[in-house]
């Protein structure tokens, strides 16, 4: 890392109606460093980056790139100046080929126009270097999420960038893919590029970053080299309170005696991913479903919830065999499912918090098709209070809320149906540490009320903190079952790894 300052943002100020989003923030990035930008959601990270890339206009302050004052009015202008961005939500074009998505806007040209052959050859080479094995001529939408994220990264870093902004690039990657990304990041760093890295995964910050800048409520808290910072210090600075209890294990023990079984899955398999999954969840129990991305976690949840009808094996709810053809049937039997991708499968962005929360129980609170508005308001107010949802009012459109609060509204939607079993698929993905901690407390509270919880998460520490029992799956089948004190990150990883070894052994034999 050199001491040459590549980017300097001075006294950046930005107000939105009712919010002081950035309050005279100073931010400095040196050439050849990976700089973490940390803060809770709403702290101003994204706003600061949008001011940098020209998506937002700043109210005051100045930006110096390589010592020269710059002012970008669009992403195009900042890209031309060498500032490249990878967004948290994958921003690619589904119907264009992989190669085009990497080169769109700067396709190699020959005398007659776009040189498709050269473009595809270069794209293939770039992705091969990144360890991504994919046909570059196929449509992007045919690629999985992780591959798409790698393609977005390839697009950003193989431009003539001097500064790469990465806004939660790892949120949809598994460990191996994250490792590949980090390898690429180190390579870029050696070439003298600067990287601004935003992630909610603290481990990643300590693994890959050189410097951390922490924002809170639109103000700069501190800039400090990573080696002089502990995890706990970082968290407490981000949330601005004593963090000693933030990362603590939340649940007590679980006594199975006398509790009824709410979900029993035996040998659930389908033609796509699942090769025989066995899961039991009892009333008031939090059961984790651990495994790598693509191991069949979400697929199992979808089958259990009646979203994917074709499967073999048996499912029992409250002791009765069931075979759901649609989520409607599952809901009627007391199941709830908070999907992984809340934007796609969860929220109605332009509807109010009130409507989003009660949409599934409208028949219950209506009479002769007419809605009982008083009852609706009662329920909505109760959950806004009990889940501590931060919203100006129940009439607020949900897309104006932060990710964590949107997630809480979704939780409330399912809770007000009073389910027996709730499946939570990555409930804390993409939300900040403070909100995460609140959601985790909620999980315990839900279980405390006697509801069974099936928790799917890629974050092992989340499983360790929250679960009474963890079922580890790999390649669509069970490879381990951990309980109580034996639940630890090491044990989970070991089960996943052993599952792999067993399989190889099987193939060799």
């Amino acid at each position: 890392m050199s001491e040459r300052v590549l980017l300097e943002m001075r006294q950046i100020d930005k107000r939105f109606p009712g919010v002081h989003a950035l309050d005279h923030v100073d931010f400095k990035v040196r050439a050849g460093e990976i700089h973490a930008l940390m803060g809770e959601n709403g702290a101003g990270k994204s706003t600061l980056m949008k001011v940098l890339t020209g998506l937002y206009a700043k109210d005051s302050g100045e930006i110096l790139l390589d010592g020269k004052p710059v002012s970008f009015h669009s992403p195009l202008e900042s890209q031309r100046a060498g500032v490249s961005t990878i967004y948290q939500e994958i921003n690619l074009i589904p119907y264009l080929s992989v190669a085009e998505n990497i080169f769109l806007g700067r396709q190699p040209l020959n005398r007659t126009g776009i040189d498709w052959r050269a473009m595809e050859a270069r794209a293939g080479k770039i992705l091969a270097e990144m360890g991504v094995d994919v046909d570059v001529t196929q449509e992007l939408r045919r690629c999985g999420t992780a591959i798409q994220q790698m393609i977005a990264i390839a697009r950003a870093i193989f431009s003539d960038a001097r500064l790469v902004v990465m806004d939660e690039p790892t949120s949809s990657l598994d460990e191996k893919e994250t490792a590949v990304l980090f390898q690429q990041m180190r390579r870029l760093k050696e070439q003298g590029l600067a990287i601004i890295f935003i992630s909610h995964r603290l481990d990643e910050i300590f693994e890959i970053c050189d410097t951390v800048t922490i924002l809170k409520d639109g103000k700069l808290v501190e800039e400090r080299p990573v080696e002089r910072l502990t995890k706990l210090e970082l968290v407490s600075k981000m949330i601005g309170r004593d963090a000693s209890d933030v990362l603590r294990r939340k649940n007590g023990g679980y006594d199975a005696a006398g509790k009824r079984t709410v979900l029993e899955a035996r040998n659930v398999a389908n033609e796509v991913k699942l090769r025989g999954i066995n899961v039991t969840v009892r009333a008031g129990e939090v059961v984790g479903l651990a495994g790598l991305l693509g191991s069949g976690r979400t697929e199992f949840a979808r089958v259990a919830f009646g979203q994917d009808g074709d499967y073999t094996g048996e499912l029992e709810i409250n002791g009765q065999p069931v075979r759901f053809k649609s989520p409607r049937g599952a809901i009627d039997r007391g199941l709830a499912y908070c999907a992984e991708d809340r934007k796609v499968e969860g929220i109605f962005p332009h509807m109010s918090v009130r409507e989003n929360m009660t949409i599934a129980i409208l028949p219950k609170i209506s009479r002769f098709g007419i809605l009982n508005a008083k009852k609706q308001d009662e329920i909505v107010e109760r959950y806004i209070r009990s889940l501590n949802i931060k919203t100006p009012g129940a009439g607020q459109q949900i897309h104006n809320l932060s990710g964590g609060n949107q997630q809480k509204v979704l939780l409330a939607r399912w809770l007000c149906m009073e389910p027996d079993l709730i499946i939570l698929d990555e409930p804390t993905r993409g939300i900040d540490v403070g909100a995460k901690s609140e959601i985790e407390s909620l999980i315990q509270e839900i279980a405390g009320r006697g509801i069974g919880v099936l928790l799917i998460s890629s974050e092992l520490e989340e499983l360790v903190r929250n679960c009474h029992r963890v079922v580890v799956i790999r390649d669509g089948r069970n490879v381990g079952d951990l309980e109580g004190g034996s639940i630890s990150e090491e044990n989970i990883m070991e089960r996943i790894a052993q599952g792999a070894a067993k399989e190889e052994g099987h193939e060799n034999g």
Partner: protein, 319 residues
């Protein structure tokens, strides 16, 4: 690198229009000996070249996720303008001014869609009524005959041939070729797909969706008014009330050609096949004699729905 695998559904989606055209043409050739005559085939092509030119540009608009309902009215207006200006006997005024006017209308349409965020359906519906209204006001609702000074050379244009191929057909071929080149080999052409595929992502990638859209609406206006000039040349007059429903025929041709109406996916050759499919169906009904021409509408509609259903089914399979 993994190799691609083509599933049959993909092929049906991508090449369905060409297959349908081949089957229809073969059927027509077997059933109607007259169909095979060069004269008949050239006639079909010539009659449909105007709608073909419009449909090629419509493809670009639809690829961005938009729609242009004004094209029929702009074609009529352009024919009226050409006829009204025929007294000047100036080729530049008679041929280029209507085209410039049509392009300008398309440009304005694009401005309303982008700068004022009006839905393309509404914006172009308004533009359609305005263009039709202007055409009617200029002519008081009557057809405008070409002035004698220029009528000779203007109508001769419609009959002219190059190497035995009517000029109209050559123009259609030229526009189609330009459309193919634009969408395959230029960055602007690929930006069209990007904007239609995911506008936000396109913006993040440094593409300016507004400019791309304004350009395609201007091109659509250009194509419609070019057709209008050709129409005036063929009829020897300007007609304020013609071309009603051309926008729908053009959209149908684009859809039958496999371009998705939500944008981002499709191609110009498909549209050309779509235009020809509609043309062959029409010709077959004419040659058949006993079916009246309303049947054309029923057959076209059925075909259109069949194509859309294939797309929907293919999407599901692919997902």
């Amino acid at each position: 690198m993994k190799r691609k695998t083509m599933n049959p559904m993909d092929i049906l989606q991508k090449q369905g229009a060409l297959l349908a055209l081949a089957v229809l043409t073969a059927a027509a050739m077997i059933r109607f000996p007259v169909f095979r005559q060069t004269g008949n085939i050239l006639n079909i092509l010539r009659q449909n070249s105007m709608i073909g030119i419009i449909a090629v540009a419509m493809t670009l608009v639809i690829l961005t996720g938009g729609i242009d309902l004004s094209v029929g009215a702009v074609t009529a207006l352009s024919s009226v303008l050409a006829a009204s200006l025929s007294g000047t006997n100036s080729p530049i005024l008679i041929l280029l001014l209507p085209i410039a006017a049509g392009t300008l209308l398309g440009f304005c349409n694009g401005l309303v869609v982008t700068k004022m965020s009006v839905a393309p359906f509404i914006s172009s519906l308004g533009m359609m009524m305005i263009a039709r209204g202007i055409a009617l006001v200029i002519t008081s609702g009557n057809s405008v005959p070409m002035a004698e000074v220029s009528k000779g050379w203007i109508t001769a244009m419609a009959e002219a041939s190059l190497l035995g191929v009517p000029v109209f057909i050559l123009l259609f071929a030229l526009v189609a070729a330009a459309g193919v080149y634009l969408t395959r080999k230029t960055r602007f052409g690929r930006d069209i797909y990007a904007v239609g595929g995911n506008e936000d992502a396109a913006r993040m990638m440094g593409i300016q969706p507004g400019r791309v859209k304004i350009a395609v609406y201007a091109l659509s206006g250009f194509a419609a008014s070019l057709s209008g000039v050709l129409l005036a040349s063929r009829l020897g007059s300007g007609q304020p009330v013609t071309c009603e429903g051309w926008e729908m025929d053009a959209i149908a041709a684009v859809a039958i050609g496999g371009t998705k109406l939500s944008g981002g996916r499709g191609a110009v050759p498909g549209t050309v096949f779509g235009v020809l499919i509609l043309a062959v169906i029409k010709n077959m009904i004419n040659l058949q004699g006993s079916l009246n021409s309303w049947w054309q509408s029923i057959i076209t509609g059925t075909l259109l729905l069949a194509v859309i259903l294939t797309q929907v089914f293919g999407e599901r399979k692919g997902a």
